[in-house]
Amino acid sequence: MEYLIGIQGPDFVLVAADNVAASSIIQMKQDQDKMFKLSDKILLLCVGEAGDTVQFAEYIQKNIQLYKMRNEHSLQQRYGNDLFPTPYHVNLLLAGFDETDGPGLYFMDYLSALAKAPFAAHGYGAYLTLSILDRYYRPDLTRDEAVELLKKCIEELNKRLIINLPSFSVRLIDKDGIHDLEKLVPVGAK
């Protein structure tokens, strides 16, 4: 039901998540933010079982803040992937910008599989959009091209996915930090 997507460029990572918080057949909230800020340049996108997502993400978020306070420097991005099989049923995308390693996008699922990937998606929508990403992705995408690729994916969801996802939050991470981009609202059916 929920959807996450991340696209890594040469010096940025673009991420987007849908905004629906649902309970069985009802959309309880249409402006839910599924991205959690772990540090100035790291975002955790989290979907999965209701309740587990927020509990887990906030737990990681607060522990990383605690680490930062104790050790006076923040956790580097790749060490933020310290997962082990937990009873939490959550699927994650971790996106960030590291001073030494550059931009990075990590795909994690509830079985604690971890993979660094140039692009990734979670949810039923992933089945529809991964082939679009396979076809059009290049490692040297500009920011505008990445946003256009994201729009292509969202239009496809709007056309073919049985679940209505009315809007998506979009954020971009680069050396200057996390930037909020305009919410994407797919219009009408084609």
């Binding site: 918080a21 309970s23 009802i26 309880m28 079982e49 309740g51 927020v54 509990q55």
Partner: protein
């Protein structure tokens, strides 16, 4: 009785007050299941073990709703408590005041909701005494969600909306569920009758409603849901929360009064 000093109270967590870890408990009881199942007293389901059957099926029939508008927060609910196809109580209270400026609608298992509301009220009062100020609705929602989280995966079922007025400034509405969901919003409806209530509310809720219009709309929405949902019914309780606190809006519980408030939607004459 030994008096506890304040330092000990600060380190006590509201979560640990005697229950054992549900995962450990169910593993333990599963291994001894054959021996122990007959020695449990009939009608006593331990809350931490899903393998012991409950004495009767609990159903979660209810319609509750809450929304924010310019005049504060309106919370409304039906008054039917159902139990496996029977109406256990036609005049139950599903909206429970937590303190003077916070009210919670309850849905799920009545006993669980009543207990956890009281625990929440206790913890909020302790917070107020220790820190000299009332906890915000957001804080109360987070506290309730964290207190319910250890029971995830058990039969505990609490779905509440906390409607309150924060610090004399603004109204606030949070939905908290025992599966861990915690959402902030401006309009929520919970329970088996909630889809019917949502459809009436979505067509009428606006920020600029007057207090009378909002009360009438809330009552209409619950009434329409009770008409369609078998597990909701009887009367409608409406609470209005403002900066001065909560107030119960009572009306005689007769269908004609509800219909009379909304003449545009009078039913066909054979149903009146």
């Amino acid at each position: 009785v030994r008096q506890k000093n304040s330092a000990e109270y600060l380190s006590e967590s509201p979560i640990q007050f005697g229950q054992i870890n549900p995962n450990i408990a169910s593993n333990f009881i599963n291994t001894l299941h054959q021996d122990l199942v007959l020695s449990f007293p009939p009608g006593f389901p331990p809350s931490c073990s899903p393998s012991v059957p409950l004495p009767f099926t609990m159903s979660h029939g209810t319609t509750t709703l809450a929304f924010i508008f310019q005049g504060g927060v309106i919370a409304a609910a039906d008054t039917r408590s159902s139990c496996n196809g029977l109406v256990a109580c036609p005049a139950s209270q599903k909206i429970l005041p937590v303190h003077s400026h916070l009210v919670g609608t309850t849905s799920g298992t009545s006993a669980d909701c009543a207990l956890w509301k009281r625990i929440l009220a206790r913890e909020l009062r302790l917070y107020q005494l220790r820190h000299g100020r009332r906890l915000s609705t957001a804080g109360a929602a987070k506290l309730l969600a964290h207190m319910l989280h250890p029971f995830k995966g058990t039969e505990l079922c609490v779905a509440a909306t906390l409607c309150g007025w924060d610090g004399g400034e603004r109204p606030s509405l949070y939905y908290v569920c025992s599966d861990g969901t915690r959402l902030q919003g401006e309009l929520f409806s919970v329970g088996s009758g909630s889809p019917y209530a949502y459809s009436v509310l979505d067509g009428g809720v606006r920020w600029g409603l007057t207090v009378e219009e909002a009360t009438s709309l809330a009552r209409q929405a619950v009434y329409r849901a009770t008409h369609r949902d078998a597990y909701s019914g009887n009367c409608v309780d409406v609470y209005h929360i403002t900066s001065k606190g909560w107030a119960l809006k009572t009306l005689p519980c007769k269908e004609e009064t509800i219909y009379k408030q909304d003449p545009e939607t009078l039913p066909p004459s054979h149903l009146r």
